[in-house]
Symmetry: C2
Subunit: 244 residues, 2 copies
């Protein structure tokens, strides 16, 4: 931040975009909204919007949009800033700098009735990034960055628990890893590894849960903020890249 009293710096519009990720029926989904107005009318876009006024905090604006556009309560949801996207020309209406937030929610069964936009829908992440979906602005890149961030943070933070409800089974947790990473994991080894990490998960009473088969123990998120040791993603079996 520097000097200058004579020169007036340019003023820029500031917006907030939300990448809301969840698991639905063991599939990794992102929330997209069909735009009802130009520009990009009819295309899919991330929920978001401009700051209400010049005094609104950007994090508060993210919480507000979360409520308005996704009908979600930010309390006890994982929300972290992803970054600022401000390439000139990203919005045809003019210079807009958008601050993107990454939100992780436990799998909501309902299709989330958007209050505002034409239609809100959970879209499988794979599909959203495949190119078969028309995404507005630079939202394709934002979603890609968010997914990459989530995949990486799964390795060395307890982020996976944010995809789960208050209490969960180890199999639930494994589903998160498998869906987000797009791999299959061995339940026996996963069970062992997860329990060894101090502070990752802790037993939630002798409680259990009903399904067919043997009842599973319930856990809740532990106090750890980092996983030591980390859960490393399996190496991609191919070797089309990487060198030694």
């Amino acid at each position: 931040m520097t000097d200058d009293d004579t020169w007036t710096p340019p003023e820029i519009l500031v917006a907030v975009d939300l990448v809301i990720l969840t698991l639905r029926a063991s599939v990794f989904h992102v929330l997209l909204i069909e735009r009802g107005i130009e520009p990009f009318k009819g295309a899919q876009a991330l929920p978001g919007g401009f700051l209400n006024n010049a005094e609104e905090d950007i994090y508060a604006a993210a919480l507000r949009e979360l409520r308005e556009e996704a009908d979600l309560d930010g309390t006890d949801l994982h929300i972290e800033q992803l970054g600022a996207y401000g390439t000139p020309g990203r919005d045809p209406r003019g210079r807009v700098l958008s601050v993107a937030y990454l939100t992780i929610a436990p799998g909501l069964p309902e299709p989330v009735a958007g209050t505002d936009a034409s239609g809100a829908a959970w879209v499988p992440v794979e599909q959203a990034l495949s190119g078969s979906v028309q995404l507005a602005f630079d939202h394709w890149k934002i979603v890609g960055d968010a997914v990459e961030r989530a995949r990486t943070k799964l390795e060395h933070t307890p982020l996976a628990t944010a995809f789960c409800t208050k209490t969960f089974t180890i199999a639930d947790l494994q589903e998160v890893y498998e869906a987000v990473w797009g791999v299959d994991l061995d339940p026996r080894n996963f069970y062992r590894k997860v329990q060894r990490v101090p502070g990752f998960i802790e037993s939630a009473g002798a409680d259990r849960r009903m399904t067919t088969g043997r009842p599973a123990r319930l856990f809740r998120a532990g106090p750890a903020t980092a996983l030591h040791p980390p859960l490393t993603r399996p190496e991609p079996s191919n070797d089309s890249e990487e060198g030694r």
Copy 2:
């Protein structure tokens, strides 16, 4: 991003701040500049400034400030966006949203002659965060976030090589880890571990380097973008700290 044609969203000043980290004499340093004008005149601040005009890209602005205020060429330097800092009131002059960038540079021996500000100086990170240094705006938090980011990325990305010159020895690399993490590592085990990670470092010819003692092999950064397996930070034996 939403609708509305009648309502005009607020315009906000956008700035760029740089956290430039390096190693000097095996000590982890950050570049700070003494402010010559109000607000926070006389305090230390990160290099940075407002966008030049409404068309300037924020990344381009970061590169420009890097040149203007630190006399550094962004080419072949590690630069990544850290995040947006936009709390109302962070700048007493009005609403300013600042996009912070994290830059890693090989240890420059010279004290970096700032072109603009009153004085630029490399300050040990520990000192900058200790509270004994008056930092302007919310720069204390920004530096803290940057350092935390660097410490974490050292574990699972080849970021450490960004602290080194084009070619380096394994002992150089170890110095980076030790200085940034603030720990001591066993050279023998470090040597083994680093070499096992595919694509982390690759031999730079049979070249060597002069010092006292046996000449060391030179390496350069490899093609890997992630470390598999990661280099995990040693557990702190005590548990007096940690927090996020």
